[in-house]
């Protein structure tokens, strides 16, 4: 019976909005209690499922001798030189990947926005393409190129650091999204016009004017790249390079306790990195205000 009454009010008085919303509000309160209960149930069950293995990792890796609890498995990480080498190698690759990705992507994306907007879709397509080509397929195709590099480029060609070449490709979809959302936050074209009309050359316009304005997006892209490199396994394993994940994998067969300890540490490290960018990502405040995210992430 509330239905016709409500409709009537709404039609009669355009500013009867507050009145109009009164009947649903009562119902909504009842519904919201049910909703809250459902939400809590879902969070407890599904988030519980997600947390359980992580908790088990902590329990497993903190087992000491004779039922004691201690952190000796975490301390033992440093006793395995392979592991330390793997961590160092992966961090080095991560730095190269971040630098390479930024040098390749930032000027290109900024340039397409300012000068050749019609190429924007092409660049986007190429950046998202790695999602359609599984990493294991890239390995099969790229292995001959790595064999060639190993034979002809000396020490450099056989170095695990060359993995950065592929990691840059793998990180493109995520980096593109992050930098793109940074670019959308500011009027890059106007900034560039302003800088150019004051006499700045293109390099100066891009690196000293535009880059500082999209640093949020650049930071997100860099953090995602670091996390991706630290988690990369498929390519390093099949090309026989000893990165962090490959060493963890090999260690798993010898000392599962220490390998679980390293895994947990790496996951926590990646979590902290990603937590920082979800807090300070470009548009985090904007999103809160509107309650809408501008674009689906992949």
């Amino acid at each position: 019976m509330t239905l016709p009454q409500g409709l009537d009010l709404g039609a009669a008085a355009p500013d009867g909005g507050a009145l109009l919303s009164r009947p649903p509000r009562g119902r909504r309160r009842r519904r919201s209690r049910l909703q809250l209960a459902t939400r809590i149930a879902i969070l407890v069950l599904i988030f519980g499922y997600l947390i359980l293995p992580l908790f088990a990792m902590l329990e497993f890796s903190s087992r000491g001798d004779y039922g004691a609890r201690n952190l000796q498995n975490f301390q033992a990480i440093l006793d395995y030189p392979d592991l330390v080498d793997g961590i160092v190698t992966s961090l080095e690759i991560a730095i190269l990947t971040v630098v390479g990705m930024l040098v390749l992507l930032v000027p290109t994306m900024v340039w397409t926005v300012i000068r050749v907007p019609r190429m924007r879709r092409v660049v986007e397509f190429l950046c998202l393409l790695p999602l359609a080509i599984p990493a294991i397929v890239i390995v099969v195709g790229i292995a001959p190129m790595y064999q060639w590099m190993g034979r002809h480029l000396g020490v450099f060609g056989g170095s695990p650091l060359t993995l950065a070449f592929i990691d840059i490709i793998l990180v493109l979809p995520y980096a593109y999204r992050a930098i793109d959302s940074g670019i959308r936050m500011v009027d890059v074209a106007t900034l560039a016009d302003a800088a150019r009309s004051l006499g700045a050359g293109w390099p100066r316009t891009i690196f000293q004017v535009i880059v500082p304005n999209i640093r949020g997006g650049i930071l997100s892209a860099s953090v995602l790249a670091v996390a991706l490199v630290l988690g990369e396994f498929t390519i390093s394993q099949l090309l026989s390079f000893r990165t962090l994940q490959v060493v963890i994998y090999l260690l798993g067969k010898r000392d599962p306790y220490v390998s679980v300890a390293v895994s947990l540490s790496a996951l926590v490290f990646a979590f902290i990195l990603l937590y920082v960018i979800t807090r300070f990502a470009p548009g985090a405040g904007e999103r809160a205000r509107r309650g809408v995210e501008e674009e689906p992430a992949t």
């Binding site: 879902i42 006499g199 396994f233």
Partner: protein, 308 residues
């Protein structure tokens, strides 16, 4: 200051108004030149490997044209069954992941958009969905393995043998459980923005017309979210279909999945001289994933109408 004013006229002189048709074309060409490094890089490290795979699938080791590799992929039972199992695993875990992930996303989306809960869940999902691989396999060994927390809890504390032999973890069932574990957070990341797109006004409009929760989801929320949900389902499918690390860390005997088969072929190529069968399988994977991703892109375009 003087420098800025001095060069300002020069910059203006080069502005669009004073450009002739010829120099404009030259300019246009120069604009594209700046994009060459990016295209060259992607061409060298992504397109070229894909071409090597594609060409290799149709050539013998000596370089002659052949269909043998492709024929073997379709006739050899090992490959056919690995393909089918991969697809089966991908479908199962995509559906399970999509349902649980969507529920979790809804529970999170109804909360404070800038609250702690949301930030923690989103960040944790990013880690678990995209950077887990080997580490997630170890997480499950620590949980359900022979010495895992849950296994020991049931054998030592409850002393009740409800759980099957812990070796289930190393079977396809185990893979499905672990895959679902990283599908749920991926679903959350992909689906959360669409749920955010459901506006409060729509709830209110539905409620003011007398609609309850069921009516809202049946007539408003459901139809709006359907394309996003379907798109996410496809993305989850490709994610599980192309996953390798978790399976490699968990399965030590046999190669039930197609990614494991490719790795096997790849690693034994020198011994057996069958390198190009691996490339044919890899090409098969590209085709499956590309078709699904193309469908995903089409659906996503439709879905994004409501996500503003």
């Amino acid at each position: 200051m003087a420098q800025a004013t001095a060069s300002a006229p020069g910059a203006q002189a080069a502005g669009p108004a004073s450009r002739g048709a010829g120099s404009r074309r030259l300019r246009g060409a120069r604009n594209y030149v700046a994009l060459i490094p990016f295209h060259a890089y992607v061409g060298l490290f992504l397109i070229l490997p894909t071409l090597i795979v594609t060409v290799g699938a149709f050539t013998t080791l000596e370089g002659g044209l052949t269909l043998d590799n492709v024929v073997r992929m379709f006739t050899d039972d090992t490959f056919v069954s690995a393909f089918l199992k991969s697809i089966q695993l991908a479908i199962t875990t995509a559906i399970a992941g999509a349902i649980f992930g969507a529920l979790l996303a809804w529970a999170v989306a109804r909360g404070d958009p800038n609250g702690q809960l949301r930030q923690v869940v989103v960040a944790a999902s990013g880690v678990l969905a995209q950077f887990g691989g080997v580490m997630l396999a170890f997480a499950f060994l620590a949980t359900f393995g022979f010495n895992g927390l849950v296994t020991l809890f049931f054998t030592d504390v409850i002393r009740f043998d409800v759980l099957p032999d812990p070796s289930w973890l190393y079977s396809l069932t185990g893979l499905a459980v672990v895959y679902t574990y990283f599908q749920i957070p991926l679903m959350l990341i992909v689906f959360l923005p669409s749920l955010d797109g459901l506006r409060q006004e729509w709830y209110d409009a539905s409620a003011s017309l007398g609609g309850g929760a069921w009516a809202f989801w049946r007539n408003v929320g459901g139809p709006i979210l359907a394309p996003s949900f379907l798109g996410a389902l496809l993305l989850l499918f490709t994610n599980a279909f192309s996953a390798y690390a978790t399976a490699a860390a968990l399965i030590s005997q046999g190669a039930p999945l197609i990614t494991l088969q490719i790795a096997n072929q790849f690693q034994s190529e020198v011994v057996l001289g069958q390198e190009n069968v691996g490339k044919a399988i890899a090409l098969g994977m590209i085709i499956v994933v590309s078709v699904v991703m193309a469908a995903y892109a089409l659906i996503q375009r439709r879905a994004s109408r409501w996500v503003r």
